[in-house]
């Protein structure tokens, strides 16, 4: 009866659970996303190009990508400083501030959006003093930038924090024993070993900001060509029943986010080969 020698596994249920997983995945994720790409194929390359290069679309993409990049840069610097303070120093309220970092993850985007707007509006707690200095934040690109900084900060902190915690203290002691001063130790030994995590955090914050909608649209002002982000333009095109336009912009943004995922995966792999897992 050696015919019973089939490909069997030690635990039951693989066929059933894998089948259900693939079905559910297809129904919820793959078919809808495929529909998006199919819709784009209804456009000729010329039409596609025309939509993407229209002034309003180009500007929306520029605003989304440009401000996201700037916000991610700020997150990178401030995130590093925050991680350093939280991991290396003791100060009153340290654990509270550590917990606070997660709020932008946890707060629904619409709530963040109205709160930031209220805060930076001309009569807001921060908007009023800034207005006296002649700086207008709400309903300008600066507002978009602020909202993007808000939602991006946890990505950098939570990616870098465990790596800094796990950093072997001996490498610092070794650097010091070799005569390096603190400045050299930090900038030549510690920060370089954080680079993969820093870049990963940067990429995640950037990607999140590019696609962000809820926390940005309230404070943005949404003036075409000036403070209109790409996700909002998609919504506007949809409400005008210009599905083709919405789809074309969406596809470009989706592809960009796939590129970022790939980059992040590469970064993770790179980090592994550089710093082998214990």
């Amino acid at each position: 009866m050696s015919t019973a020698v089939a490909r069997r596994m030690s635990l039951p249920g693989f066929g059933l659970t894998m089948g259900l997983t693939l079905t559910w995945l297809s129904v919820i994720i793959l078919i809808p996303l495929a529909g998006l790409f199919l819709k784009t194929l209804e456009l000729s390359p010329g039409q596609f190009w025309e939509i993407l290069t229209s002034r309003r679309t180009l500007n929306a993409l520029k605003i989304s990508f440009g401000l996201s990049f700037a916000a991610a840069c700020v997150n990178l610097v401030m995130g590093t400083i925050i991680v350093w303070a939280l991991v290396r120093y003791r100060f009153p309220g340290r654990r509270l501030f550590d917990a606070i970092v997660d709020i932008p993850f946890a707060l629904p985007t619409a709530v963040a959006g109205v709160a930031l707007t209220q805060l930076f509006a001309q009569k807001g707690w921060l908007g009023a003093p800034l207005a006296e200095l002649g700086i207008k934040v709400a309903f300008t690109p600066i507002g978009i930038f602020i909202a993007m900084v808000f939602i991006g900060i946890p990505f950098v902190v939570r990616t870098v924090q465990p790596v800094l915690i796990d950093l072997d203290p001996e490498i610092e002691e070794a650097a010091a024993s070799l005569g390096a001063n603190r400045w050299h130790t930090v900038f030549r030994v510690i920060l370089p070993s954080l680079i993969p995590a820093l870049l990963t955090g940067f990429a995640l914050a950037f990607a999140r900001a590019v696609g962000e909608y809820g926390s940005v649209i309230f404070i943005a002002g949404n003036l075409p060509n000036v403070s209109e982000i790409a996700p909002l333009l998609i919504v506007i095109r949809l409400s005008e029943f210009r599905y083709a336009d919405a789809t074309a912009i969406a596809v470009v943004m989706l592809l960009a986010s796939f590129v970022i995922i790939l980059a992040v995966n590469r970064l993770q792999r790179w980090a592994q080969t550089r710093i082998p897992a214990h």
Binding site: G35, W125, T159, F218, L254
Partner: protein, 324 residues
């Protein structure tokens, strides 16, 4: 396009990437990162900076977090109560508010329930078996994290909208998906898809298959093995995934906004109502609803911290140190 990880925690995030890449990243318990092994530097330590620099770094970190994170949160509650407590509760008692709360709870129940079941099923298939293409499958499950919420809604409009693939068929059969509960639920399921599976996969991989194999060799059936052996071992991780899934489901704005149609009293969830009331300058009402969502976020964070501690404790070493 974005790591729309609204709320993937560091643990989940890192576990996620760790397991994609096959590395074990030590996850510190929340709030007290790794202090067992590495105390914060004492003044004489080689591993710290001069006092003034430390002061500047701490001051920058604290003021940044205060301005960008604490103040917005405070503004929510301050604005909600700006006209007094009675105005606050009056706003919450509005029929429109109540119907939004009901709809939000309904949609969260549907999407969390389905994602719970399918997340566990997916985690079983992925964590307990070896097969080719596993990394690719995990990447597919992760996809919703990296799709802009607006696009997550858009894909369903393209399928079910009046001009979508199945729009006219649905219209002919008088089936309402878009601008109705099914559409809102679908969009929510899409954006919360990875949470449960992603919290379970690393945990179940780490636990291996030995206990399940032992149960099977003792005569247990597949379901008995799952409910008596696997489930008790993953309960905290499962709760963790459900918690994050629920928070995101209740708070989702972009995707739901695209498919909801904003029909007052019918298809407005709480986040959508926040938007509508804000745009109508009903600030107290808007922030009252927002304050409920903010409290949900705060409670979620607290419970999450508790669960993370449980998860850390749950990692019992396989062998006694003394055994080696």
């Amino acid at each position: 396009m974005s790591m729309q990880t609204n709320f993937v925690t560091p643990v989940a995030q890192l576990k996620a990437y760790a397991s994609t890449a096959g590395v074990a990243i030590a996850i510190p318990s929340h709030g007290e990162p790794g202090e067992r092994s590495r105390a914060v530097a004492s003044p004489r330590d080689l591993r710290t900076e001069p006092g003034p620099i430390r002061f500047v770094v701490i001051a920058l970190a604290v003021s940044f977090l205060t301005v960008f994170v604490v103040l917005p949160l405070v503004v929510v509650f301050a604005s909600a109560f700006s006209k007094g407590i009675s105005a606050y509760f009056a706003a919450l008692a509005e029929p429109e508010a109540l119907s939004a709360i009901k709809l939000t709870l309904l949609v969260a129940a549907i999407s969390v329930g389905l994602n719970l079941v399918f997340g566990v099923i997916a985690a079983w298939a992925i964590a307990k078996f070896d097969f080719r293409g596993k990394t690719f499958l995990i990447t597919l499950i992760d996809l919703p994290f990296s799709v802009s919420p607006v696009i997550s809604g858009l894909v369903f409009v393209l399928l079910f909208g009046a001009q979508g693939y199945w729009g006219s068929w649905l219209q002919a059969h008088n089936i309402h998906i878009l601008f109705a509960v099914p559409g809102i639920a679908l969009a929510t399921i899409f954006v919360t898809f990875p949470f449960v599976a992603r919290s379970l996969i690393p945990l179940m991989q780490e636990q291996g298959t030995q206990e399940e194999e032992a149960a099977i060799s003792l005569g247990a059936s597949g379901l008995q093995t799952f409910f008596r052996v696997t489930l008790p071992n993953i309960k905290w991780g499962l709760l963790y995934g459900v918690l994050l899934c629920n928070a995101r489901a209740m708070g989702e704005f972009g995707a739901v906004s695209v498919v909801s149609g904003h029909i007052r009293g019918e298809t407005n969830t709480m986040p959508l109502l926040v938007e509508i009331l804000y745009n109508e300058y009903q600030f107290v009402a808007s922030f009252a609803i927002a304050s409920l969502l903010a409290m949900l976020a705060l409670i979620t964070l607290v419970v999450k911290a508790v669960l993370e501690r449980r998860l850390d404790e749950g990692q019992i070493p396989r062998n006694d140190p003394g055994d080696h």
